[in-house]
Symmetry: C2
Subunit: 445 residues, 2 copies
């Protein structure tokens, strides 16, 4: 399955015009960044990077695509020939997946000819804007849950393929599992889920339904107890499954009082080890409001997959430098319209730390290099402010070769581990849920 | 490409448990409906129906899927055997794609055995919740644009596959075109787009860029005029392309004053036929604010593809009836938890009209039929309230056979035409942009 047509038409018409003007093969640097954090958040979480690398690998114009472009007069013959041979041969550097970001963090830098780099714009932004919005929201929920596990179960509330990506992004940001089977298959994420209200309604009684589920899934299963009367359902559940019942789920259980009553009832029935899981349209605020209640785990749907009010991260993909014809020098470029001033030049990021605590986001403009930010994973080095600096920009693709560390289920696992380490560096104020300013200042050096 | 794993795990564990309890093959009716309209909207627009039918056709568990389910212990051997033979053999009735809907409108009714119908829940809801949210937002933008054409160009602000679906939904709701090439290929939607700021920045001057574009795309092209100075750019644009220049695009042009100045300058240069297209983060409110300005067309991105503040329609998929064992009678069922009372029984919808103007949404519970709402397209018939009634529920799938009228590019075209006719029936108050109540009352009869 090619990703080549998941692309705005103007990327191709620009290639056509640039082929004619002789500028199509100018070496260029494009940068992905956001001018602000979505929704007054204190920090953002980069997600989608591994999927971007897959999309670049699959970006090929086959016969079907070329025929359609030709039949519909999208571009001329010379452009079709260019596209037929398209392979990305450039380099991509950027923040590791799972890393945190702030306004103007240089998240991704694509270096290549104008034509080969510009044509990736749409699909790169689609993936990063979506996945990062989900991960950024998910990280707030993880913080609000205060160590209790969260499952992503919002597949039904977003596009069917976006659902798979959302499960992946939430997992990177610290969720423990997903309801989505394809996310399990494709990305190695643990899947969960037992039964819906329809299962109870199908049977002639709640007891019959519970017996059927326990016989099939064992006493360790999670029984949904709010189809009719919660109190009666819990009594039935413990009678049917015994006190070793795994868990009960409250799909209308966002009330701390209800959760406390359920806990007391379970304990009185001897089911002291039975966990309580709560679902029903939770978001970071309702999760935080359940902080004192005896909830053992949360299931989150709509809010996480739609970015909890900020469904797109707002990243842009801008040309920041190209090589002139006369010299081999990189020339920084930027548009100059009011409101949207951009900073030219290829960039890389560093995080300034003091005693392991993040203090600032440093953005370094590197005009004297070869257009490619060069930095690698590594331990923080001594910084100039008495603290240490942790390099944030790593090589993702070199001369068309994708670094396999960042893709597939292994890339997801790596991103999740890295994310947890990056979040651990944040100051406490990062976890305030109200709208506010970024918790770290971005300093352009 | 199968859709079978775009599914929540619990759909499969419910099948396993129901196979054991002997209830898996009970005839059931599931209904898709929304308890309210998203975001205080006055009406909703059904979209995604054709894609749901495709997803049902592609819902097959192949060797890869079965192996993964088996290796991961998701379900037992008997369930794997059931899934290996899975074909949907039931019936689906529902609102036509493009139709309007209101709270509790019975949008889709799936009739089949419990197992074959429940397993479709996740993918059916993913598609309808996403596509309908986009179409519902898009219809408000179309109304705000007051007859001027709108192009959808938000691919970069939503998941890469969601982008294709969003383009389709916006087109059904009255948008004229999309930037997304795959939406053009897959659904026959007109595509548009010429150049971005990077194209101007690539060249050594704006004039060089404009010349390249006009040479390649002709004088009828749209030149982007706000990379540097708008006034100077327009002067250059008309000098390069001549007064027959097709259009200028303002990507920071949500100011009526700016648009008026641009119009005056174009006219003074003799480019009286050159159109003005405006983009920059528009939504229904900023479009409405440009009503008096000489804008010729709009390009809308983030707001339309993310449902303008309501990214998911909030539909649910509920078991509303099943057959008992003792009798052939359909038994309406509904859960009884507080807050979420549902109405049991299979249903169909009708719209009450008077002099061609919509007055109310009628929901009819049909318990005495064969569990399947039967109605067809047709001219409105005499109603009981002095008006006429237009049947809203049509057959989409009969005994596993998909009605081809509703799928593919032809289905999209049909939905767009039907949508325009349905919107024309609405009273004027439907087009108020502020939050409010549904413009038609839903009457359950």
């Amino acid at each position: 399955m090619t990703t080549a047509l998941l692309t705005d038409r103007y990327e191709l018409t620009m290639i056509e015009a640039a082929l004619r003007s002789g500028r199509a093969h100018r070496p260029c640097v494009f940068e992905v960044f956001g001018r602000r954090l979505p929704g007054g958040r204190r920090f953002g979480v980069v997600a989608g990077t591994g999927r971007v690398l897959d999309a670049i690998a699959d970006f090929r114009f086959g016969t079907d695509e070329l025929d359609w472009l030709s039949d519909n007069g999208v571009v001329d013959e010379a452009t079709l020939q260019y596209l037929a041979d398209y392979r990305f041969t450039g380099s991509v550097h950027g923040y590791r997946e799972g890393e945190l970001y702030f306004p103007n963090s240089p998240l991704l830098t694509v270096t290549g000819t104008f034509a080969e780099a510009v044509v990736l714009e749409t699909v790169v932004l689609s993936i990063l804007n979506h996945d990062t919005a989900v991960a950024t929201a998910a990280a707030r929920m993880v913080a609000a849950a205060d160590g209790r596990p969260l499952a992503e179960m919002g597949s039904r509330r977003t596009g069917e393929e976006a659902a798979v990506a959302a499960a992946r992004a939430a997992y990177i940001a610290g969720f423990s599992a997903t309801s989505n089977l394809e996310a399990g298959r494709r990305w190695g994420i643990p899947t969960m889920g037992t039964a819906a209200h329809s299962f109870t309604l199908l049977h002639d009684s709640e007891e019959e339904a519970f017996r059927a589920q326990v016989e099939s899934l064992g006493a360790g299963t999670t029984l949904l107890v709010d189809t009719y009367d919660v109190r009666a359902a819990i009594e039935t559940a413990v009678r049917v499954a015994g006190p070793s019942l795994g868990a009960v789920r409250l799909d209308s259980g966002d009330l701390p009082e209800l959760v406390r009553e359920v806990r007391a009832q379970l304990d009185s029935l001897g089911a002291t080890g039975t966990r309580i899981t709560v679902t029903n349209d939770l978001d970071e605020h309702t999760i935080a409001a359940l902080r004192g209640a005896p909830v053992d785990s949360f299931g989150v749907g709509t809010a996480v997959v739609t970015g909890s009010g900020s469904p797109a991260a707002g990243f842009v993909y801008k040309l920041v430098a190209h090589r002139g014809d006369a010299s081999e020098q990189w020339m920084p470029v930027a548009k100059k319209s009011p409101e949207k001033v951009s900073l030219g030049g290829a960039k890389r990021g560093e995080r300034l730390l003091h005693d392991g605590r993040a203090l600032a986001e440093h953005v370094l403009v590197d005009d004297d290099r070869d257009g490619v930010p060069e930095a690698d994973e590594g331990t923080p080095a001594d910084g100039s402010h008495g603290g240490t600096v942790r390099p944030l920009t790593v090589a993702l693709v070199r001369d068309g070769e994708i670094d396999e560390r960042w893709v597939g289920p292994e890339g997801v696992r790596r991103a999740r581990v890295h994310h947890a380490a990056a979040v651990a560096e944040l100051p406490l104020e990062a976890f305030r849920l109200g709208r506010g300013e970024p918790v770290l200042p971005t300093v352009v050096r």
